[in-house]
């Protein structure tokens, strides 16, 4: 028997690890798993296309934003996923990620791992200038004033490339920070004009402190690594290369691509607040195993169970810096996986455990973020709708128009409200 598994972790080293795990699974059960890499930005289109053609794979490793929309579109077999979670023991999972994917009587997909988004900043420069860590809009703007000095140093590298998921993520984080959400318990809700305006103005400020052109994760990282950016927003996946462990993305701040100097000068913030929401919020993403409706259900369930159990450490080891365990342990050993995870070395061309590279406090901040991380619609039970809104890229486009000066803030809010309400 053969099942097909789509994964968005398509870098060769990561792919190889998944293939290893598939081989172990085959050895254990006799079922062959074809591991098929899919580019994350193509995932939505390709899944829909495959659904249309009736050749969906059996299991898809996907980010949160697709869980509920796909369940609704009939792509995911929610029962199978629920059954898997039940079989593994609901209690062994962190509650947040399960709640994010909750559907009637279970979950849409099985949560696998997660991460929280971070504001990565140059602690050394902040210290020099006597600035506070960028935990709020105000702190960030204050830092921009002092540190933005192009072309040697840009204050920020904002996400401005409309069709990149990255921009959606960053924007959602900034909106959440100020407590703005396009959904409430009843479904779509108009954005609060005042709070939204604050967000827009803030975003425009960081965009103006960014280099021109369309920017996304690639430029953010390159500029930060070159020492030319004071702040960026990134995922924890940056942690290994930031410490010089990866040749294909080396820090270029000095001549030694393997040095961890930059890491030592870097600070991190996960919880971020705006003027209208002093508590702030962290933004987290969780990845799931979805079992599709065209799947060979039993085999697919077996595979997911295997990956979440015997193979779980292997799964996490793909990139421990960005894959925090959402299943903490088994019923017998409640913290088995958390412990195993903390020992996993990070890095590609060179390896080292995270603890060797960063302060334990910093690591705790990063990991702890996942428990309090928010997403639009999770608390309100409208994650599905919110995901669709995000996937429509309406907010990205309008924000872009705003920062390009094509429309003013009021018009931008109006445009977003109008276009978001059309999404269903």
């Amino acid at each position: 028997d053969t099942i097909r598994f789509w994964t968005t972790e398509e870098q060769p080293e990561r792919l190889a690890k998944q293939q290893e795990m598939a081989a172990e699974f085959q050895a254990a059960t006799g079922t062959e798993v074809q591991v098929i890499p899919v580019t994350e930005s193509d995932l939505g289109t390709r899944a829909t296309a495959a659904f249309a053609a009736g050749d969906l794979p059996d299991v898809i490793y996907h980010p949160l934003q697709y869980a509920l929309p796909w369940a609704e579109a009939g792509i995911l077999d929610t029962e199978a996923a629920s059954e898997v979670v039940e079989g593994l023991g609901q209690g062994t999972f962190a509650p947040g990620p399960l709640a994010m994917a909750a559907v009637d009587g279970g979950v849409a997909s099985v949560p696998v791992d997660g991460w929280t988004q971070m504001i990565v900043y140059r602690a050394d420069k902040f210290e020099e200038a006597g600035l506070e860590a960028p935990t709020s809009f105000a702190n960030v703007v204050a830092a921009l004033d002092k540190l933005h000095n192009p072309p040697e140093m840009y204050g920020f590298v904002a996400a401005t490339k409309v069709d990149e998921n990255f921009m959606s993520q960053v924007l959602e984080h900034v909106f959440l920070a100020n407590g703005v959400s396009p959904v409430n318990y009843d479904g779509a809700a108009a954005l609060d004009p005042a709070a939204t305006t604050e967000v827009l103005e803030f975003y425009k400020a960081i965009a103006e402190a960014s280099p021109p052109g369309e920017l996304y994760w690639k430029q953010s990282r390159e500029l930060f690594f070159a020492g030319q950016a004071a702040m960026i927003i990134w995922s924890p996946f940056i942690l290994d290369e930031l410490a010089g462990l990866r040749d294909s993305a080396p820090p270029t701040i000095n001549d030694d691509p393997t040095s961890s100097e930059l890491a030592s000068k870097t600070g991190i913030v996960t919880n971020f607040s705006g003027p209208s929401n002093p508590d702030g919020a962290a933004w987290g993403d969780v990845r799931y195993f979805g079992i599709t409706n065209d799947a060979d259900t039993d085999l697919a369930m077996d595979f997911v169970k295997f990956s979440m159990d015997e193979g779980y450490t292997q799964t996490l080891s793909i990139a421990p810096e960005g894959k925090f365990p959402v299943r903490r342990g088994t019923a017998d050993e409640p913290s088995k996986f958390s412990e195993a995870w903390s020992m996993l070395p990070v890095g590609v061309d060179r390896k080292a455990p995270l603890g060797d590279l960063y302060d334990q406090a910093m690591i705790n901040e990063i990991v702890g973020g996942l428990d309090v991380a928010k997403r639009w619609g999770v608390a309100e039970g409208q994650l599905g709708l919110a995901s669709k809104m995000i996937n429509s890229q309406v907010i990205n486009r309008v924000v872009r128009q705003y920062i390009d000066g094509e429309i003013d803030a009021a018009a931008a809010v109006a445009a977003m409200n109008e276009q978001l309400s059309a999404v269903e």
Binding site: F51, P151, T297
Partner: protein, 413 residues
């Protein structure tokens, strides 16, 4: 003498020839109509339908059978699902053959019957998004082993049937797609981008090609090598050169920026492919770069076929080099230039890959063809994509009218 008139009909030799011609053409005609004419008709059909990517799967009932549980709680489960979330499926029936080794141990679900080993259900209509299980409690016959029973039960595929209305084939039409396409102010910006790209891409490639052709229109050693070299941009796979350009002009790690910075032309890195309106200019420059070799080749061929006597006559007449170019070469090239212009215009208008690879249609570089892709795949609205395609096709028809009017005067290429 009576006025002679031509004979009616064709002679036997002509008839024979025509028959042969048609039989030679038949495979080509079949193939072309299958994969060109039919799709074109399909595009028209689809453009009037409210259809998304997911609708391509016709609604149908989906059934899976499994033997679950153990001991007393043994049951056969049928999972029945309506593949569509918005269309109902009517007259759903199930037929399955059970192995002898299983005995029904409880009530059959309503609508179901068991006759011998044949299990049949009539379930009527499935709601959109229907997804339920039919459970039949069973027991193992004497001496039967569970695993073999399971294999036997799952080994015979259950049959499921049902009727549903497919949006692809029904007669429901709408103008929504066109309304949507024309509504957004996006359409006009796309149109303007297309026109800019097409006009400047074509003209630029022609001018550059003309210049290159003039350079190589004399024989010297190494002329062949240079000619080969100048064709490289056209011959290399688009994917290779497009990515190379993206790398070369990368704002932070591209060599072009590094060079410009170093030369002091700019003090700040330029985001060539990510900045309005530079991105549009850059994709146009890429188009020029990639296709000047073609114009160059054609113009060179034409130049070399110009009678050298004419230039000698002009020498005798005392014309200076620029006069020769202006009064002789240029008018002689006018024919090929205009044919090239028209054809290249059409082809540039149709171009998709280049922009798609360079910018993906971002930063103000979305042309009509990229829009087809965006609508149909990125937004998953196949109907809207088809509508844009129909618009493209309409433009094309207009161009080709021009083209044939013109080409019938200029001798063909």
């Amino acid at each position: 003498m009576n006025i002679a008139t031509p004979p009616k009909g064709r002679g036997p030799l002509a008839k024979r020839e025509a028959r042969l011609a048609w039989s030679l053409l038949l495979p080509t005609i079949t193939m072309v109509s299958l994969v060109v004419i039919l799709p074109l008709l399909a595009i028209f059909w689809i453009s009037f339908k409210p259809i998304g990517l997911a609708d391509l799967r016709p609604p149908a009932p989906v059934l899976r059978e499994s033997l679950r549980g153990s001991g007393d709680d043994l049951r056969i489960e049928y999972r029945l699902r309506n593949s569509s979330q918005d269309t109902e499926v009517t007259d759903v029936t199930i037929r399955d053959t059970w192995p002898e080794s299983l005995i029904v141990a409880g009530d059959l679900p309503s609508g179901c019957d068991l006759e011998g080993t044949v299990f049949a259900c009539e379930l009527g209509t499935l709601e959109p998004g229907f997804n339920e299980q039919l459970r039949v409690p069973v027991a193992l016959a004497d001496g039967a082993d569970k695993d073999t029973a399971e294999d036997a039960a799952e080994g015979t595929k259950p049959q499921v049937q049902g009727n549903a209305d497919s949006i692809l084939t029904n007669f429901e039409f709408t103008l929504d797609n066109f309304a949507k396409v024309f509504d957004g102010d996006e359409f006009w910006s796309v149109m303007w981008v297309t026109i800019f790209y097409t006009v400047f891409g074509t003209v630029g490639a022609l001018l550059l090609g003309l210049f290159a052709a003039l350079l190589l229109n004399k024989s010297f050693r190494g002329q062949g090598i240079l000619r080969g070299l100048y064709l490289f941009p056209y011959v290399a796979p688009v994917i290779a050169v497009a990515f190379t350009w993206v790398n070369l002009f990368d704002p932070f790690s591209g060599s072009a920026n590094a060079l410009l910075l170093q030369m002091g032309v700019t003090s700040e890195a330029i985001n060539f492919f990510g900045q309005r309106p530079l991105a549009l200019i850059m994709v146009t420059v890429f188009e020029i770069w990639r296709y000047f070799p073609l114009s160059f080749l054609f113009i060179l061929a034409r130049l070399q076929s110009i009678d050298t006597d004419m230039y000698e006559a002009a020498d005798m007449d005392g014309a200076s080099p620029f006069q020769k170019f202006w009064y002789l070469s240029l008018p002689m090239l006018l024919g090929i230039l205009s044919v090239l212009f028209l054809l290249r215009f059409i082809w540039t208008f149709n171009k998709f890959d280049d922009i798609f690879l360079l910018t993906g249609g971002n930063a103000g570089t979305r042309t009509l063809t990229v829009n087809v892709y965006e609508q149909a795949f990125a937004v998953s609205n196949i109907g809207a994509g088809a509508a844009v395609a129909v618009i493209i096709f309409g433009c094309l028809l207009v161009f080709s009218v021009f083209f044939f009017k013109f080409i019938s005067r200029e001798e063909g290429l």
